[in-house]
């Protein structure tokens, strides 16, 4: 009734290969794009951007990244926080001018490279993170499942430790923190205190849109099939010609690329100043992993849904409990934990394949509604 594909005939394989083969879906997607790019920026204020939109956009990128690794390639990772930190610190170094120390005449001399535009800094940060991701992905060639998760946990703790101890990474600042100076794109500041809410929103939205498109293209093509083959049955995958080394490491590389971009945006646009243990601790790894699991493993839409669920729910609860019912904030904060935790458990029991599967089932139902068959 609400959702139908009748009469929607495809006459070429190109048409059948599209991201949204059904016309209704396709137009809805265009509508969402138009609203997100052309309407939301005009109506949002500071509160909405900082409490809802920025975390949602940035966590969506991180969740897409992690979903490629865990959901598509089946390699469990608990190092997301650490990889986000790599993205953040790499972005910081690039945007403030990377400095290199060279030995000259027996003395160390510091050379500073020019500052790089924030847009490219974020992309370069993603590339650096993907190299680090491949490095920490090497154990996946030998170990699987929970054991791999523990190995990536090592990445989490090592990287956080590294950014605490290695003063080069935070430009030798006394506090050990990094803070993003003001950087502009075409004259409009996107980082720093002067940033307008809509600018920060649009900047992150552009990255999210690009990430989602790239992730979708990769997962519907041969790369995605190789990853899923490794996930579903690695021995069979190898026997039909998938090189497990390349498939796993490319999943780590692509996944870390997105996670690195998310980390860079999280630091530069959202928080502005970062202390590594606090912003990129093990909690972040778990949070993003929960998003992926609740949203739906192996689904790009699920990454969005999971991020939305875990970002919006606390905000919603806080607003109803404190704003609506007038309860004290500390009580509301504790209740929030209980309710969110309870909902996660309920959701996973009711639908172990996440929100994405719930959405698919709803669509199946809506195709026929109100008729039973």
């Amino acid at each position: 009734m609400f959702y139908r594909e009748a009469g929607d005939f495809k006459t070429s394989y190109e048409a059948d290969n599209q991201t949204f083969p059904i016309k209704f879906d396709r137009y809805r997607y265009y509508a969402v794009l138009v609203i997100a790019f052309a309407m939301v920026p005009f109506v949002i204020n500071d509160y909405w951007v900082n409490a809802v939109f920025l975390p949602f956009l940035i966590y969506s990128i991180a969740a897409i990244g992690l979903n490629i690794l865990v959901g598509y390639c089946g390699q469990v990772s608990l190092g997301t926080g650490g990889f986000m930190a790599v993205g953040a610190y790499a972005c910081y170094k690039f945007m403030t001018g990377l400095d290199i120390w060279l030995m000259q005449d027996g003395e160390w001399v510091r050379y500073a490279l020019p500052e790089i535009n924030i847009f490219f800094s974020v992309i370069l940060a993603g590339l650096v993170t993907s190299v680090v991701g491949v490095l920490f992905g090497l154990p996946s060639l030998r170990i699987k499942g929970f054991y791999l998760a523990v190995a990536t946990l090592a990445a989490q703790f090592f990287l956080v430790w590294l950014f605490n101890k290695w003063s080069w990474t935070y430009n030798y600042s006394a506090s050990g923190q990094i803070s993003a100076p003001e950087r502009t794109i075409m004259g409009v500041p996107v980082t720093g205190a002067e940033t307008a809410p809509w600018a920060a929103y649009l900047f992150c939205l552009v990255f999210l849109t690009l990430s989602a498109l790239i992730a979708r293209n990769l997962t519907r093509g041969m790369a995605g099939r190789k990853w899923m083959a490794i996930r579903d049955m690695d021995i069979a995958a190898e026997i039909i010609g998938v090189n497990p080394l390349k498939a796993k490491l490319s999943a780590f590389a692509v996944s870390s690329f997105f996670v690195g971009i998310a980390g860079a945006l999280f630091f530069a646009v959202y928080l502005g100043a970062v202390e590594v243990g606090e912003a990129f601790g093990i909690n972040k790894s778990f949070l993003v992993l929960f998003m992926v699991i609740i949203g739906g493993l192996g689904s790009i839409f699920g990454s969005f849904a999971g991020a939305a669920f875990l970002v919006l729910l606390p905000v919603l609860l806080k607003n109803t409990l404190v704003g609506g019912l007038g309860w004290p904030t500390d009580l509301a904060a504790h209740l929030e934990f209980i309710i969110v935790g309870g909902l996660i458990v309920t959701f996973l029991v009711a639908e172990p394949h996440g929100l994405a599967q719930l959405w698919r089932v709803t669509k199946e139902k809506l195709r026929l509604w109100p008729f039973p068959h």
Binding site: N217, M222, R225, M233, A236, E238, I239, I240, V242
Partner: protein, 272 residues
Amino acid sequence: MLDATEGYITEDGRNIGGVVMEMHNITLRFGGVVAIKDISFDIREGEIRAIIGPNGAGKSSMLNVISGFYNPQEGEVWYKGAKRPPMKPYQVARQGIARTFQNIALFDGMSVLDNIMTGRIRQMQAGLLAQALWKGKAEQEEVENREAVEKIIDFLEIQHIRKTPVGRLPYGLKKRVELARALAAEPSILLLDEPMAGMNVEEKEDMSRFVLDVNDEFGTTIALIEHDMGVVMDLSDRVVVMDYGKKIGDGSPDEVRNNQAVIDAYLGVAHD
């Protein structure tokens, strides 16, 4: 005895070419257990070669040696006139050897179409960047290979399930999808490990027809393991018989049927 490069024409008029794969004195051990002992045989281009034997004879191990899953301790594998060095399974696959498994090994989370498309791995070489942008070679490859895959889907009569997740399919169809995935690679040698295991008579008839058609239309060389003697004797051009890791017979179905060692192996023989 035929020369290795010489071909012949079968009774039903199919052309059989020269030797495409040759096993020389293969011995495979697992610790102290000898799974395959000093076995030699060859596979000719375009023929259907059966490997039979009682349970535990080492048939599947033999297939695993051919597909590179096991590397034998002794002996040589010759493929297309060259000695094959020890290889990883995926390298063997890229040389054009495809196989199916005794226990279906499909990718359950993927659709039938994606499963079969994965079989085209050899034909799809676009880089990660092109795939990320879905432009140029990547997009073109997707369409071209989809056409090839659709031909196989038509051929095996599985059009109606092409978008279904494989996990939801019944056993017989899964077997067919697995054959489709192997065929999608356009292999020079197709290895079938018990393609008819667990099927009823009608499904077996269907499968036999597909095996013969594949061989006939694409000229694919097929090596198969099968327990159903009726099927083996009907389908195959030549049969290797194994027992306890040793070769006890090799020849046309008729020769094998009348071979005393083979009869003994299957029916048992009084030890005195």
